[in-house]
């Protein structure tokens, strides 16, 4: 077990964005967090990444409890990929500087080779190295963001809807790239998505979140067989099959 969270609660004022969430992630597995917008899934990820400091409960990473602030050693083992590739790259920095930055932060050596290798691994040639983000497409930018996360050779990647801002045709490419990289580097993924199909494709195990609570945990095969127990999960699965007016109505009344 590389990561475990217990009683994880995040409150923004009166609103409990995450309510007593508990889950565990095994080393080398890929774990999905699914839910609709506002279900608290991204908040969980941001707490794990140390971007939200105001939380209660306990999180343990590799057997050690995590505090409010994370040290640099933690970030050399856990990296994050953001949802919006248009927003997550500094608009005034070339791809080269974006990739050099984590190397400088973690005082790593051989910058040249590492940058070349990282670009190679995500399927971007060295021709992209000195371009600015605005010269790249969404998919290319997300590849850069993945390269930036992987360049410090982490053990775990936190993926915040890594494909939801991309074209459908590009989504599959990026997901397959992530899957291949996970196998190649023996990475652990924690992936957040609102898309059941994406999670079913990527993750062996998943947790379904609704209104800050984890309502159900299941594995991929159970999901594929449609063996959801929780009524919310069933509705979510039905919704993923297509639009249905009755179903859309039922989401409104669900509390």
């Amino acid at each position: 077990m590389i990561l475990s969270a217990k009683n994880l609660t995040v409150a923004f004022g009166e609103m409990r964005a995450v309510d007593e969430a508990a889950f565990t992630v095994e080393r080398g597995e890929s774990f999905g967090l699914v839910g609709e917008s506002g279900s608290g899934k991204s908040t969980v990820l941001r707490v794990l990444a140390g971007l939200i400091e105001d939380w209660s409960g306990s999180i343990a990473f590799d057997g050690k409890a995590l505090g409010r602030t994370r040290d640099r050693a933690f970030y050399s083992r856990v990296q994050m990929v953001f949802q919006d590739p248009y927003g997550s790259l500094h608009p005034r920095q070339t791809i080269d500087s974006a990739l050099a930055e984590p190397l400088a932060i973690h005082k790593m050596d051989r910058h040249e080779q590492r940058i070349e290798k990282a670009l190679e691994e995500v399927g971007l040639g060295s021709g992209f190295r000195f371009r600015y983000p605005h010269q790249l497409s969404g998919g290319q930018r997300q590849r850069v963001a993945i390269a930036r996360a992987l360049i410090v050779e982490p053990e775990m990647l936190l993926l915040d809807e890594p494909t939801s801002a991309l074209d459908v045709s590009i989504q599959a490419e990026v997901l397959n790239l992530l899957d291949a990289l996970r196998k190649a580097h023996n990475l652990t993924f924690v992936m957040v998505s609102h898309n059941l199909a994406v999670v079913a494709h990527m993750c062996r195990r998943l947790a379904v979140m609704n209104r800050g609570r984890i309502v159900e945990e299941m594995d991929r095969d159970a999901l594929r067989r449609g063996e959801a127990k929780d009524p919310y999960t069933r509705r979510l699965m039905a919704a993923s099959r297509g639009y249905d007016r009755k179903l859309a109505e039922s989401f409104k009344t669900l509390d």
Partner: protein, 299 residues
Amino acid sequence: MNASWSQWLLDEAPASRAQARAGAFYRSWLAFRRNPLAMVGLAIVVSLVLVAIFAPLIAPFGPTVQDLDFRLQPPSHRHWFGSDELGRDIFSRVVFGSRITLMIVLLVIVTVAPIGLAVGTLAGYFGGWVDAILMRVTDVFLAFPRLILALAFVAALKPGIENAVLAIALTTWPPYARLARAETLVVRKADYIAAVQAQGASGMRIVLRHIVPMCISSTIVRMTLDMAGIILTAAGLGFLGLGAQPPSPEWGAMISSGRRFVLDQWWVAAMPGIAIFVVSLGFNLLGDGLRDVLDPKRE
């Protein structure tokens, strides 16, 4: 510029850090060049610099050389801008005065921009009590009218060009701090800042390497637009006798000494006045052009 150079600069896939930087700069230059007024401003500012550098070669007389036989001469072949009450050549004095103006401009830039950026970005990024303390200090400086505060500073220290610059700098930085803080507040919530946080970067590193670059362009624009005001304040202090001291050919001081003859010998006050006007206009036009090019919302 020949074709292969511009091809190298506009290359979509630059091969080195230097090429990428030069290319980004060249693209801004191309956008800047399309604005004729901004080019006029740039030309004025560049000529100010050239005139200041080559003043001894351009000026036909020394700035303090008196010729009492030629007092208060109107503009002529011998004295292009006329001569003043001590027979000094006004053209030469205006030319040498550009050095003082340029020095004031440079000294104010090197003091104001770093102070304003540092105070603003730190306050904006760290927030909380850091923000409260830095911004209240800024408010104190903002509470006084600029010229009055500068006057008080100079009067308390002692009249002179260095103290005038110091006084101007001390009264000019607060708006820069405000501006940088406002930009920082917008930028600090951006994903690319969260991304460097999630890479484990320290607060100082984030401010210096990721936030300051986003605030620099607005600071440059504001600086060039403010430059006219700074030159006028310096001239104002000179006019009131609190800036450059005679016989130094500071433009404001020259107007001050010329105001006694303004009706009969108009050129004594008018020539340095025109110089102030042209240079201020130049900086304003340049600032307008730079704003169009550097505006982060352009992309």
